[in-house]
């Protein structure tokens, strides 16, 4: 042990610590300063824990407290408060640099250290200073802009007041600061691991070391006797169905007889400390009878393959789609291309580990099980837990959550925490490592696709065929929806009169596929948009012109047969034309050496407002003439708080600071479905509009403008709006795949400019340009943030990222995007008001993720003449393709 005296945020503190105690843990556990976050398992990979020690930005997870005697430490809590923020915090909020907010305190501290020594840094200096700080949401663009704005504040060139939009001015089309942004910037927004729970037990989970096996026995006797252990919980202790059900009830909270995947949960150990829980979990002896491991859909569909789930065949779902006669059209077409494409398993990579806490509130039969966690669908999780645990009185509270990107549509650590709290009747915390979080979460589905695309002599598309086999992994989660989503959006931006498709979903022993930004369309669009470029080349037509002449037009139908009356895609082609021509012209001059410039485009028309989707939002006029919105509209970083606040203020005239959001717990919110599928602006915003219209109508009828007037008139103060998307009439036809698609579309063209080093195969993204028509823009910064973050993830998907189960264990092995891999972006916005969108808006969260990867792949081909058919396009693959070409 060693005595250490440190000044933390201006006050002297004395500690006596073990030699291996790190500053991050001391700050969070001893000082209860939770602004510094833990993501990378204390490997110094993420910078979320950055604080300032003796004037230097340091990753506090790497700092041994024993070495800090006499040090002066400043944490985010020492910088400013929401009431009195530091200029850097103001700059981050005003720049739109705060999305999920998990990385923000670390970013801000690194910025502080930089600006203290250099108040006028250039972009490269900013990138260097923040090189250890990771962000999954922003693509780093707005963070760089925030540092530049902070520098201007500090240099006295401008002030926050001069930059901040007038809160009394227009509400729509203005980047008003997000309501939650300052809390995040000051490190006081509580994420799950930050929740203070008195006397909470720490949990560890015994996870399968086998990919597929029968469980012969689980021996917990040794673990139960270990120091600090309070209980060991197995499936036998769970009184409900022990099944999580989103589509199929195939996923247990705790496995009882069989494991289907490496990392499957088998037992929970609850102990006084996390170290004790982990040690005892390691002492639980599980005896397995190994079963054949099915590592691919092909193996799983092979003759005689073992069936993974006895209730469902390995080939568990198929969906055909037949529009016209594709084979006949192909036979009669002037040009046809044919190719096979594959995409990889990928991790959505939210920076925050999967964390949940749970406790019992009240006593006896009225006690409520309270679960606080990371879900984006709190009512769905609550009802799942009710049945799985056999306990009805549950409240789910959404904590602030550090990134989402689809992963939090599934139910993960909630089941573990809730089962333990209920069984032990004690508060519990389950805060797994990032390595364990990767092991236990769902992933982006890998696709295996065979494609034919044909055109006539005029370059008009005639037919598209695609067979896609999807590796579902061990559990269903939303696999069927991924197949369906791909079908609903299969023909992308185009009018393709003849389509023949078949989607197949197959169980394997791989990690379960789940929602992942785009979820289906990114994979099939990679194939379609690659084929579009191949076909354009074959017929000798410019890729942009080829896309424009094949645009769907109002009155024509997509591959499901649904007719659209709005399709502002040709106008986007015109909008990007000049930048495209300029990029092509410049690229043509950069082909002579080993580093060759290429330009690639790809497009999509992403569906918003899914078939049969419905939202519900309640509003209530408050006694002070403010308004409260009651709806489970999760906001893991997209800016749904801005959307609700700005729409409500715009429609009612109520000041934004009197628009109150009650969105985070199941006891007080209308059920709104998941914050997924880019649906919240369209569905929740749409429901909000309908609710407010009822309120306004009641006030008009009563001839009043106040709460007092409304109540005196005997009118209700509470109204529920429910937006219903198209397709309420039923599902796609199971044989033809014809039927409804999404009510609205967001249109996009992605242009990639890349340099390919033909000696090394390395690709550098020079710039990404996106042209987007998302209808009315409510908050431009939020829109741009989604576009930039989506492009950053799309580039990672195209070039680097691949999840290998059991081997990808941290942010380095995942190849997480960094300041170094970030790239400039150019954004072109068109705003065609959508007829059925709230105030004309549609959705945007996933759009640029979808078409970025094919744009990159097409740019690589344009640069050096090799086409990559299997993502990611690593330097090794490009080098091999170049060698094969020679």
């Amino acid at each position: 042990m060693k005595k250490v005296v440190m000044k933390i945020n201006g006050k002297l503190h004395q500690f006596v610590v073990e030699p291996d105690r790190v500053l991050l843990d001391l700050l969070r556990e001893d000082m209860l300063l939770t602004g510094a976050k833990q993501s990378c398992d204390r490997k110094g990979q993420c910078g979320a824990c950055t604080v300032i020690v003796n004037g230097q930005a340091v990753r506090s997870c790497l700092q041994k407290v024993a070495n800090l005697d006499g040090a002066e430490v400043i944490t985010i809590e020492g910088l400013g408060t929401p009431e009195n923020p530091h200029l850097i915090q103001e700059a981050y909020v005003l720049s739109g640099a705060v999305q999920c907010g998990f990385c923000t305190p670390g970013m801000i501290m690194a910025t502080k250290a930089l600006l203290d020594r250099n108040p006028n840094p250039n972009v490269e200096e900013i990138k260097k200073a923040l090189e250890h700080n990771l962000c999954r949401c922003t693509g780093y663009i707005k963070i760089i802009e925030a540092v530049q704005l902070a520098a201007r504040f500090i240099r006295g060139e401008t002030t926050p007041g001069a930059v901040r939009p007038d809160p009394n001015g227009p509400k729509i089309g203005v980047s008003h600061p997000r309501p939650s942004a300052m809390l995040k910037a000051c490190g006081v927004a509580p994420f799950s691991a930050d929740i203070k729970l008195q006397d909470a037990l720490e949990l560890a989970v015994v996870r399968s070391t086998e990919h597929h096996a029968n469980i012969v026995s689980i021996d917990t006797s040794k673990a139960e006797k270990m120091p600090g252990v309070v209980g060991v919980i197995t499936a036998n202790h769970i009184k409900g169905t022990n099944r999580i059900v989103i589509i199929f009830p195939d996923e247990p909270i705790l496995c009882k007889d069989k494991v289907q995947c490496l990392g499957d949960p088998i037992a929970i150990v609850a102990a006084q400390t996390k170290q004790q829980a982990i040690a005892a979990a390691e002492a639980v002896k599980v005896t397995y009878e190994p079963l054949p491991v099915l590592r691919s859909p092909q193996e799983a569909m092979a003759e005689g393959a073992i069936q993974i789930h006895k209730e469902w065949p390995n080939l568990c779902f198929v969906q055909p789609q037949i529009k016209g006669d594709a084979e006949k059209a192909i036979a009669e077409s002037a040009a046809v291309v044919e190719a096979s494409f594959t995409t990889q398993i990928n991790h959505q990579a939210p920076l925050e580990p999967e964390a949940t806490v749970a406790y019992m509130e009240g006593e006896g039969e009225d006690a409520q099980l309270v679960v606080v966690g990371r879900s984006i669908q709190i009512h769905g999780v609550m009802t799942n837990l009710q049945e799985a645990l056999g306990y009805e009185n549950i409240r789910y509270e959404e904590a602030y959550s550090g990134g989402q990107f689809g992963i939090k549509a599934a139910i993960t650590t909630e089941g573990i925490s809730a089962a333990a709290a209920l069984h032990l009747q004690r508060p519990v915390r389950y805060i797994p490592s990032i390595a364990e979080s990767m092991l236990l979460t769902n992933k982006r589905h890998p696709f295996d696709m065979k494609v034919k695309l044909a055109a006539d002599e005029n370059g008009k598309l005639t037919a598209f065929t695609i067979d896609y086999i999807v590796d579902n992994g061990a559990y269903q989660i939303i696999g069927i929806y991924v197949i369906m989503r791909a079908m609903w959006m299969l023909s992308g931006s185009y009018n393709i009169p003849n389509v023949n498709a078949m989607g197949k979903l197959v169980y394997t022993n791989n990690p379960a596929g789940g929602a992942a930004r785009g979820a289906g369309p990114p994979q099939v669009t990679f194939a379609l948009e690659s084929a579009m470029d191949m076909l354009a080349e074959k017929i000798g037509m410019d890729p942009l012109r080829f896309r424009k002449i094949n645009s769907l037009l109002p009155g024509q139908s997509v591959s499901t047969g649904m007719v659209y009356e709005q399709w502002p895609f040709p106008e986007l082609c015109d909008a990007i034309q000049a930048k495209y021509d300029s990029a092509k012209k410049e690229a043509a001059t950069l082909k002579s050496g080993p580093i060759k410039r290429g330009v690639g485009i790809a497009t999509h028309a992403f569906g918003i407002g899914g078939p049969g989707d419905a939202g519900r939002v309640a509003v209530e006029l408050d006694p002070d003439d403010g308004i409260t919105i009651y709806a489970a509209v999760a906001d893991p970083g997209e800016g749904n708080d801005s959307m609700l606040t700005q729409i409500a203020s715009h429609l009612t005239g109520i000041p934004m600071d009197k628009v109150r959001l009650m969105t985070r717990d199941t006891d007080h919110t209308a059920e709104m479905g998941p914050a997924a599928a880019s649906r919240m602006t369209y569905m929740a915003g749409g429901s909000l509009v309908l609710a407010i219209e009822q309120l306004k109508k009641a006030m008009e009828e009563a001839g009043v403008k106040t709460y007092e007037g409304l109540t005196k008139a005997g009118k209700p103060i509470h109204y529920v709006g429910s937006k219903k998307a198209a397709g309420q009439e039923g599902p796609l036809d199971p044989v033809t795949g014809q039927g409804p698609s999404f009510e609205s579309r967001v249109h996009n063209i992605q242009m990639a400019e890349v340099d390919v080093n033909t000696d090394t195969g390395e690709v550098q993204v020079i710039k990404m340009t996106t042209a987007v028509d998302a209808g009315t823009v409510i908050n431009p910064q939020n829109l741009e943030g989604q576009l930039q973050g989506g492009m950053d993830q799309g580039v990672g998907y195209a070039l680097r990222e691949e999840y290998v189960h059991g081997k990808t264990r941290d942010w380095v092995t995942f190849k997480f995007p960094t300041m170094k891999t970030s790239f400039p972006t150019d954004i072109i916005i068109r705003e065609t008001p959508r007829v059925k969108g709230p105030l004309g808006a549609t959705g945007i969260g996933e759009m640029t993720m979808v078409s970025t990867a094919p744009a990159i792949i097409n740019a690589i081909y344009d640069a050096c003449g090799v086409r990559i058919f299997d993502l990611p396009a690593t330097p090794e693959k490009i080098k091999a393709a170049l060698a094969a070409k020679k």
Binding site: M301, P313, H379, R616, A670, G673, P674, Q728, P731
Partner: protein, 121 residues
């Protein structure tokens, strides 16, 4: 094919199916919950009750059904049992025994509330 060939292969949307109830074609989910709560009517409730073995809904059962619908219409979510208990002044045991399938799978279904597990988007 693998040994799964003996099982039914799912195709189309596994969540939705049309049924003719009380003379109307209505969209349900596969667990028998109405897809659209607005499709509910008293005639639909009577038909669904009959399917679950209730020949005639009693006053107590109607009281529960109307409470469920009113609560859902006001709050946009289904009530917890404690809300039912306090709102109706009936013990949980009595509530559960009023409907085959209890509150969750009986009363809620007959009252036309959506399946809370529905995944949208």
């Amino acid at each position: 094919m693998n040994d799964s060939a003996t099982h039914t292969l799912e195709a189309g949307d596994v969540h939705q199916k049309f049924r003719t109830i009380a003379g109307r074609e209505i969209l349900f989910d596969k667990q028998g919950f109405l897809w659209h709560p607005e499709d509910w009517s008293e005639e639909v409730a009577v038909a669904l009750a009959l399917e679950s073995g209730i020949e005639a809904l009693s006053n107590d059962q109607w009281r529960v059904i109307r409470f469920l619908r009113d609560y859902f219409a006001y709050h946009g979510r289904a009530p917890l049992n404690r809300d039912l208990k306090s709102g109706l002044n009936i013990s949980l045991m009595d509530l559960e025994s009023l409907f085959p399938g209890g509150i969750r799978h009986g009363a809620r279904r007959i009252a036309g509330l959506p399946n809370p597990r529905a995944c949208t988007g």
